[in-house]
């Protein structure tokens, strides 16, 4: 899967502190106050895998957290790779037009 260099450049070094599922939207909160909003295919529900937004086995509450090493994206799969070797896999609603990153002050940092 190809790296999303632009998004990697934005998120690298930030630590994901919370993954929040809000219906068909998943919000990843980072330690610097920034947020990444992802339009996902379905709402996250109870389960135990690290995949969010793809079906009933994808709980946001159990989503892995960590310091971002890089981002890969292909089609409707968005993978956030952490320094600890774990990956947060997100299923986007479509291949594009699904991801926004805003800084703490709501400034837009990245749009897909």
């Amino acid at each position: 899967m190809a790296a999303n260099h632009k998004l990697t450049g934005v998120l690298k070094g930030r630590t994901a502190t919370q993954v929040e599922a809000l219906g068909a939207t998943t919000v990843v909160h980072f330690d610097d106050g920034s947020t990444m909003t992802v339009q996902t295919t379905v709402a996250a529900a109870a389960g135990s895998t690290a995949e969010v937004g793809s079906g009933p086995a994808a709980p946001a509450s159990a989503a892995p957290l960590g310091r971002v090493r890089g981002v890969r994206q292909q089609g409707t799969t968005l993978d956030i790779d952490y320094d600890n070797g774990v990956t947060l896999e997100l299923r986007t609603a479509e291949a594009t037009s699904s991801v926004l990153v805003r800084a703490r002050d709501h400034t837009l940092e990245y749009a897909d």
Binding site: N4, L7, Q74, E94, A95, T96, S97, L100, L108, E109
Partner: protein, 255 residues
């Protein structure tokens, strides 16, 4: 938002039967209309031409001569100037002295024989936006924060429009609602726009996009109004927001 996809007459130009897919507008439709008008004693370039007299200057036909398209047609990287008596690439030569309606007058083909639309198919490209505000788009450098269109999305858009291959530089994968107006990278907002069709092409649309962006950021125009205008009919929006006094010849790339 869907809009009528049937060809409709522009000012001073009669509708021309389109041998291609009915939902597409062809650069040559304007040329053919001017041709018919000229054969009937009509006048020069079609109205609404952002290039002023480009159409008339580039080869208005004379009565009795083989019927070239008004304006200059670009096929691939070559300039197929359509002076009276010249044949367009791929067309048989006209019989001497006999007026002949061009077989391909209602469409513009690129160098590989693909039709080059002037406007997107509203069923394929109705327009799509990101959830961004005027404040977002009016920050310097906003467009650079938007992801580049992925290769697989680019291929899909060209395939949807029946452009399986093309020479570099012939087309631009245009955002119908431009990035600087909050347009998205969704396939619903992308279409292959020619650099070579005249009078309407990618460079002309760029001027409209810049103008709308400026008007929005200066507070003269609502963002959603601008998005709707450019998505519904960018050529009509050009006339509305650029004004006839702002027309000029396109950039040198479109001959």
């Amino acid at each position: 938002m869907l809009r009528s996809i049937a060809p409709r007459p522009r000012d001073g130009i009669a509708s021309v039967p389109d041998p291609g897919p009915p939902v597409w507008r062809w650069a040559g439709a304007l040329a053919a209309a001017a041709l018919i008008s000229a054969c009937q004693g009509g006048q020069g370039a079609p109205k609404g031409d952002p290039n002023g007299s480009a159409g008339a200057a580039a080869g208005a036909p004379t009565a009795g001569a083989p019927a070239p398209a008004a304006g200059r047609d670009q096929v691939g990287g070559g300039d197929v100037a359509t002076a009276a008596g010249a044949s367009r690439v791929g067309e048989p030569p006209a019989a001497s002295g006999a007026p002949r309606l061009p077989q391909y007058a209602a469409r513009t083909l690129d160098s590989l024989g693909n039709p080059a639309p002037l406007e997107p198919d509203p069923r394929l490209t109705p327009g799509d936006t990101l959830p961004v505000s005027t404040e977002d788009i009016c920050v310097a450098g906003y467009s650079r924060k938007v992801r580049n269109v992925p290769a697989e999305v680019r291929r899909e858009v060209y395939a949807r429009y029946g452009v399986p291959s093309h020479r570099p530089g012939e087309y631009e994968l245009d955002h119908l609602i431009s990035l600087e107006l909050g347009g998205s990278n969704s396939v619903r907002n992308l279409w292959p726009e020619s650099h070579w069709t005249t009078p309407w092409n990618a460079r002309v649309k760029d001027r409209l996009e810049n103008r709308l962006h400026r008007d929005v950021c200066d507070g003269r125009l609502d963002l959603h109004t601008a998005q709707r205008a450019i998505a519904t009919d960018w050529i009509a929006a050009y006339g509305q927001y650029m004004g006839r006094s702002a027309v000029r010849r396109p950039a040198s790339g479109a001959r």
